[in-house]
Amino acid sequence: MKQPPQKKDGPPVASSVAASERGVDRPVEKERKKDLPPPRMQFDDESRVDKAKRRSLLNQPEARNRVELFRHLPPHKNGSQLPYLESKFFELHEMHPSVYKVGLQYLTGDTSGGNARCIAMLQAFQEAIRDYSTPPEKTLNRDLTSKIGGFVSFLIECRPLSMSMGNAIRFLKSRIARLPLTLSESEAKAALCSDIDRFINEKIVLADKVILRHAATKIRDGDVLLTYGSSCVVEMILLYAHEIGKQFRVVVVDSRPMLEGQKQLRRLVAKGLSCTYTQLNAISYVMHEVTRVFLGASSIFSNGTVYSRVGTASVAMVAHAFHVPVLVCCEAYKFHERVQLDSICFNELGDPDAVSKVPGREDVNYLDNLTDKQKENLQLLNLKYDATPSDYISVIVTDYGMIPPTSVPVIVREYRKEYLLI
């Protein structure tokens, strides 16, 4: 059985499958171990990195000048990998084409945002499951699980998983594991596909509708709402509130290097909202007139820390200093039992060259043409996420209602079982 090289995705399913084989008498430690988040790939350990390299499909270039603090994180794989991957397509016979397509979309950055990535991945898995047929001498459960594991490790190589994707994979694997053995193959496949559809529908689409309704009650006429970057949930809230006739103004705060706010700005202005656009540095200047701050999240951890696009922590901190309430809008399936205190233990590194190059501004390209000696001393750091401490958050709007940050572990504990048992 092919073990996934990076054990990032869900508890070791092999142990649960093996245990169900052995029957009821399972040692108690395995039970407890299943609840702990699995250990992650250590990128500062040379031997493990070499092992992973030998197994990897992508050609990982030696990242020059890696920032010391972040040696434990994988270096960024940028779009230059694309031709290499394309050439390897016909060698990857285990890979389903839709999974491959989704992986490429992640690699180039075409698909970004927690919900979008999760939905794309689940739909690709649906396709793969429909086309799947059990090889002889193998059971559906174990073989399909290992195939999914293979897909996941490919996607991880294209771009590290987001928390939402990790939770969705865990859900899928547990569904596969709980399939009654009496089902025929076609019935099992149909059941799995409908489960995935229900997951997407209930946990994402309907959850978003509930969040819209809750959050719109917090918007009054005459409000000035601040949003950071580009969060699909916040955009939906703003458009919904505009539709139901509330009068408000939006301040869109943006930051380098992704400049995601510009896309959201365009969509908001197209729908007729009155917007102000500014960069993150000017946040103290605009915060005087802001009445509410709406933020999206990639995940929320059990200690109430919000894991979101880099810069969100600064926005929340300045809002807190100016006594402006901060509302984080996040579906409950993104909650995670991990805890994190700062943004360094776990993060994602982006393309370092995106920091030194400023697109569209030729006058400020000071870092072109550096000598070797200069390059030796210069390191570029492009973080993708950061962790906002819970004391800056006023309320979290989820599909379970509006909760304070301290209630997140409760939701994780109480409702995690519920969705696993759909």
């Binding site: 920032v67 603090l69 943006d254 930051s255 380098r256 290097p257 510009q262 700005l265 365009r266 202005v269 197209a270 007729g272 909202l273 009155s274 917007c275 102000t276 656009y277 500014t278 960069q279 993150l280 540095n281 000017a282 946040i283 103290s284 200047y285 005087h288 696009r309 880099v310 810069g311 922590a313 600064s314 901190m317 300045v318 200093a321 700062d342 943004s343 360094i344 993060n347 920091v355 030194s356 400023v358 569209g360 501004r361 400020v364 000071y366 870092l367 550096l370 000696k373 200069q374 390059k375 030796e376 001393n377 210069l378 390191q379 570029l380 750091l381 492009n382 973080l383 950061d386 962790a387």
Partner: protein
Amino acid sequence: MPDTQALVNDFLNKLKKRKIEGSQATAKQTAELLRSVISQTRVPYTNQAAALIQSVKAVGEGLIAANPVELAVGNVVRRVLHIIREEDLSLTTAAMAGLNLSAVSDDEDDVGGDNQPVLSAAAIAAASRSTLRPPSLQTLLEDVPDSAAVPHTSSSGGDSEGKSKSADKSSRSRKLKHDVIEAVNELIQDINTCHEQIAEQAVENIHQNEVILTLGSSRTVLEFLCAAKEKKRSFRVFVAEGAPRYQGHLLAKELVTRGLQTTLITDSAVFAMISRVNMVIVGAHAVMANGGVIAPVGLNMVALAAQKHAVPFVVLAGSHKLCPLYPHHPEVLLNELRSPSELLDFGEFSDCLDFGSGIGAPLLHVVNPTFDYVPPKLVSLFITDTGGHNPSYIAEIYQLFVTSLRGEDMKFKSEIMKTNCVAGGNLVKS
């Protein structure tokens, strides 16, 4: 004066069009301009300090109005006025001490004058004391009547003593200008060397294996860090790029050229990285009288993050940046908005700038401020060319400075003077 007028106009234009970058350059050019104004001013025999003050004030007001946000101009004008008053005072006390005036004759001369400050033995004694002792709160409060009194007493003294003094006076008139110009030269020298003096304090503040964070680019910070590097301190620097001017890129380039380990980060990553930083060192555009800092945009965010993580926030400022004004609404009144094209490309967003929809007003506004205000409670330390100070100490030294230089408050001061001199006279006589 036509020469100076052309120079003044030229400088005014540069200020209005924001052609001069940086407070040091502005301060230096202002001082040089005022120096030429002073040397070209024709001073009468009597009350020459007042004439100099008048001409400097006239030019100064125009300069300040051209660029109200560039506070270094006003600071230099005030310093030059202070220099004129100081030089005049020291000349007068030297002259008086040399001429052996008796207390009685002077009292008789001045007792009839309205608004004529009294030159009593006490005042002379106080003036001579002030030139000998370093300034303290007491001497500065005593000085106020004397410095305002000096122009008048020189005239009244001259009239009463007769022609024997006229020769001294003319030599003294030339001497006043000469002294003032010398002092202004010293001021220009100070402005030029403020970076070195601040950099000298670098070694005391940076230890080994430190991690330092800075945002944008400041020449003072660059010299500071390089001075520490020269003295063989090993440390690393995180430079935040400081959008939308991206001056952090420039600073990073300079630092790596001089061999410092530098990491360039985006402004959004400041909160993420600040927990691993030992010290934040930044430059300032101006320091206000309450200890608040007018700094490049983004530094309030950095200061708040530093406070949250208990990281010292150190501001480096040359003394030409210390401004005796209190900031009221500094985000709006002491700020400048730059072109939106630095944030959004006009071509790309031309469809959003459509006026056609609904109310006919543009739906999209773009805000691009240049400066940020950092309140004094977020600043741990100021390092100026005179040493390291607390923000509250900055407020204190400027309280004292302000009381000693407001010439336009002379009427108010004369009332204080009369009460002081009477009391002082009793003391000396007994």
